[in-house]
Amino acid sequence: MANYGVDTSRILDRALVSTLVTNPSILIAQWIARAWQTAKGALATIGDDPNYGLAGGGLVQYVNRRLSPNEIAAMQANLEAAALYSPEVLSINVSVSFTQSGSLTINASGQATTGPFFLVGNVNSITAEAVFNFLQGP
């Protein structure tokens, strides 16, 4: 059973108008973005996969934290592990950085079974709101 197909375009909240997504690279990138914002085990409360999500509690756990280089490396590994949980994701490379204001920027690129994918995320240090941009592959 393929994990690609058609899904509603959504990262966290429901939009006023639902948009279907069929582009495979954007489908997988949105899946990764949702996984990063879901605490691992949260889906178990509705009877779904308890292993889906980001260990430690979603991206918000990293907002406004002072992270040492080792902790940043661990954070990147955590993000990569959450993404690699999907069997469609063959590889992923994540880099994170903090802006002067404390906002978190995430750059990720990788290979899925149908080709490359790219996404850039920015987590606001005040609102903890995450905004993602999904880039189609060349």
């Binding site: 899904d7 509603t8 959504r10 899946w31 949702r34 009877g47 889906y52």
Partner: protein
């Protein structure tokens, strides 16, 4: 489509609900087969199905079955019992018992008010609070202080002569005991006579004795008979005393009252040996099965001709006794044609004399035609388990505690005149975490490697498990 009662009562799994939702969506053309965990639509469907399951499994069966005794439970059952059968469920009761406070030489006096004193039993951790005021005298004893359990429930079943009771609210120099005499105190009397009994001797074993006054008069003039442990009544004639009753070391003397007729025909006197420190046995909320039984038995109360079920309902519905009664056996007496023996027991076996007295008074005020119902508790038979068991070294303590709990639950659940199965004991012990094996040949009940049968057609017995268990624990 007609929906059957069975469909309404059948729970739904989340998988079934989710698949049903996918079926509807698939029929409308949605690509349901490509949604992994984390996809938008799948997550929404899982959330919806989890709510559906909650409603279909918890609410709909309760509502649909709430009007039927076979299917109603707890709150719905209690509503049904109250509305349709005019029966309130019996609420949990708290244990009440007597404690003696002793001030060491030079200590005291200590006056106290109700609620001032909190005691705890070391073995169980159970706490009790005093019910009335009093004063521990200087260098003296204050016996008979009533203490009530902190919470209602049958787990407050601490033994007499505990030896490990402490005051949480300290009184320097004061020690506590909860003695149980040779006999239950007081002797429970039902009837109009002014006389009483004096008990003596050295009783052997656990027994329950019921005295029936066969003809009125003073001590030595009134004739009376006794029933030992539910056996047929034995007449002793018009005597003022009996020694070594039934060969069990029980001495009984009839003592005249100050005025009026001391012993009136039909009066009864009930006592047991050994005594107990407990006045009221704590009990849990009435079980669903018990309440259903009382509801079904309610129909018998509409008839002028009583049935055994009618007396069962009365025994379980006695006000103030509440859910202390968990077992009832109603049997016509083997010797006296109009006498009906009503054997009652609680979650921990025989009930205190006062409780039996309350039930007797309630039942006696509602007899049918010529019936003579006699309420009594079964005699308690001590049950000692022995055997060699092998347990993992690291789990010895937890296995021992679990074994005690399992054996208490089983033995207490056997019921009046039940059979304690050797095989069931072995089976329950083997289910305990950490248990490796049991030397089956060494397992005995009261030193006999066989099932133990309580009572018979004319005697009524309930089991009382000896704690701590007499098992030999070998660690591996």
């Amino acid at each position: 489509m007609t929906t059957t009662l069975q469909q309404l009562l059948t729970a739904l799994t989340q998988t079934q609900a989710y698949n049903d939702l996918l079926g509807f969506l698939s029929a409308e053309g949605f690509p349901v087969t490509a949604w992994p965990a984390g996809s938008v639509e799948r997550t929404e469907m899982m959330a919806i199905s989890s709510v559906l399951v909650d409603v279909v499994t918890n609410y709909i069966p309760a509502i649909a079955g709430g009007n039927f005794l076979d299917y109603a439970a707890t709150d719905w059952l209690r509503l049904l019992a109250a509305q349709k059968f005019n029966l309130e469920y019996n609420k949990a009761t708290a244990t009440v018992g007597l404690v003696t406070l002793t001030a060491a030489t030079g200590s005291g006096p200590y006056p106290f008010n109700a609620g001032d004193l909190i005691i705890t039993f070391g073995a169980s951790g159970n706490r009790y609070t005093n019910m009335f005021s009093g004063t521990v005298p200087l260098s003296g004893d204050l016996p008979g202080v009533l203490f009530r359990a902190a919470f209602a429930g049958s787990q407050y079943n601490d033994p007499a002569n505990s030896g490990d009771i402490t005051l949480v609210t300290p009184l320097p120099g004061v020690s506590l005991t909860n003695p149980a005499g040779d006999y239950s105190d007081p002797v429970e009397h039902v009837g109009a006579g002014t006389g009483d009994l004096t008990l003596g001797g050295t009783p052997i074993g656990s027994h329950q004795v019921l005295i029936n006054i066969d003809s009125s008069g003073a001590s030595g003039v009134a004739s009376w008979s006794y029933q030992l442990d539910g056996a047929p009544f034995v007449s002793v004639g018009a005597v003022s005393s009996v020694t070594n009753l039934g060969g069990d070391g029980i001495n009984i003397t009839l003592v005249n009252g100050g005025s009026g007729t001391s012993f009136v025909e039909g009066d009864t006197y009930l006592f047991s040996t050994p005594g107990t420190w407990i006045q009221d046995q704590g009990s849990d909320d009435e079980s669903n099965d018990s309440l259903k039984g009382r509801c079904r038995g309610r129909w018998s109360s509409l008839s002028d001709i009583a049935t055994e079920e009618y007396y069962d309902v009365l025994a379980r519905s006695t006000p103030s006794v509440g859910s202390q009664v968990t077992q009832v056996i109603v049997l016509p007496d083997a010797e006296i044609n109009n006498r009906l023996n009503i054997i009652v027991a609680g979650p921990e076996g025989a009930l205190p004399g006062g409780t039996v007295d309350d039930i007797q008074a309630y039942v006696s005020s509602r007899p049918r035609i010529t019936d003579n119902p006699v309420v009594q508790s079964p005699a308690e038979v001590d049950i000692a388990l022995a055997g060699t068991v092998y347990v993992s070294f690291s789990q010895l303590a937890t296995a021992q505690a679990a074994a005690q709990t399992a054996m208490l639950d089983y033995v207490n659940g056997v019921g009046i005149n039940g059979t304690i199965l050797l095989s069931r004991i072995i089976e329950l012990l083997m289910e305990i975490t950490g248990m490796i094996k049991i030397n089956v040949a060494t397992v005995t009940i009261n030193s006999v490697a066989a099932d133990f049968v309580l009572g018979d057609s004319s005697t009524f017995e309930a089991a009382s498990l000896t704690i701590p268990l007499g098992l030999t624990w070998v660690t591996v």
